[in-house]
């Protein structure tokens, strides 16, 4: 167990995991009921998951070391989905 957990790659992955867990706990407990502007907080609620997705993609899926085309495609798709979701929310709420 010691050998892989002490490797730099594994430590980085664990740090990423910790960030993901923290972000999840925060959004779970805070949600959007904390007095801020509703629309702003919902946009944040829609944006933060895609930052998490970016972290998972770059680190866990090892896209950071991947060919630029693959990384670009992945990021593009995520940006488009995120953008469209936020745009729909803002224009319909």
């Amino acid at each position: 167990m010691k050998t892989i957990l002490s490797e730099r790659g594994s430590r980085r992955s664990t740090v990423v995991w910790a960030i993901l867990v923290a972000a999840t706990l925060i959004s779970w407990s805070v949600g959007i009921d904390h007095g801020m502007n509703y629309r702003f907080s919902t946009v944040v609620v829609l944006l933060v998951p895609f930052l998490k997705v970016y972290l998972v993609g770059m680190n866990f899926m090892e896209l950071r070391e991947a060919t630029p085309v693959l990384r670009g495609l992945f990021n593009c798709i995520c940006v488009v989905i995120c953008g469209v979701l936020i745009a729909i929310y803002l224009t319909t709420s």
Binding site: I4, G9, S13, L25, T42, F60, A66, P68, L85, I88
Partner: protein, 198 residues
């Protein structure tokens, strides 16, 4: 970049990068991401036509189910990352890590079942209203992918049993691992869409 075996193998030309796993699996991964993306967009559009209904229905959910499920999948993803590193290094601990990842998947599915049951008992079913239709469709399709992903994890367990995994085997292991991360990614988006967007 160090040359420790658990690190990502250095690309022949570091600038050009490598493809994690087999190139073909990315057709499946990006394809599934796009298809679910379409589903997410449909959900938001549908929500836009009756936000009050969606907001009210959302309040009947227990956020804890969604939150716990997110933690389970994120943790399972970490375990899979560590397992892939262990398989590359030929370490036996890979098996244990994968079993724990499978356990997370199992608890996820049980949790999902309990949540669904609670909702159905409360009278919220597939066709109660369009929010719940989307709820059950999204979480159902995702759960089906979790089951498929779990089968891939089992395949990884089998592949991890080889003493000296060959390059093609490692390619498959990485491919299946990446697919599992996709399943995690999908839930990271589903959770706020269904439980938090208001």
């Amino acid at each position: 970049m160090t040359t420790a075996q658990t690190e990502v193998p250095a690309a022949a030309d570091a600038r050009r990068g490598r493809v994690p796993g087999e190139p073909g699996v990315w057709i499946m991964i990006l394809g599934d991401l796009i298809v679910f993306g379409v589903l997410f967009v449909l959900f938001m559009s549908q929500r836009g036509s009756d936000p009050d209904l969606f907001n009210r229905s959302q309040l009947t959910l227990h956020r804890a189910f969604g939150g716990v499920n997110t933690l389970l999948l994120v943790t399972s993803s970490l375990l899979v990352v560590l397992a892939v590193g262990a398989i590359r290094a030929g370490e036996k601990v890979a098996r244990a890590l994968l079993y724990w990842a499978l356990a997370c998947a199992g608890v996820f599915l049980v949790n999902k079942g309990i949540e669904w049951n609670a909702l159905i008992v409360d009278g919220h079913g597939l066709s109660s209203n369009s929010y719940f239709t989307y709820f059950f469709v999204m979480t159902g399709l995702h759960a089906a992918h979790v089951i498929f992903g779990a089968a891939l994890l089992i395949a990884m367990v089998v592949l991890s049993g080889k003493d000296r995994p060959s390059k093609p085997h490692i390619g498959l292991v990485e491919s299946f691992g990446c697919y599992w991360h996709l399943i995690d990614i999908l839930w990271l988006i589903i959770f706020p869409l269904l439980y938090l967007v208001h």
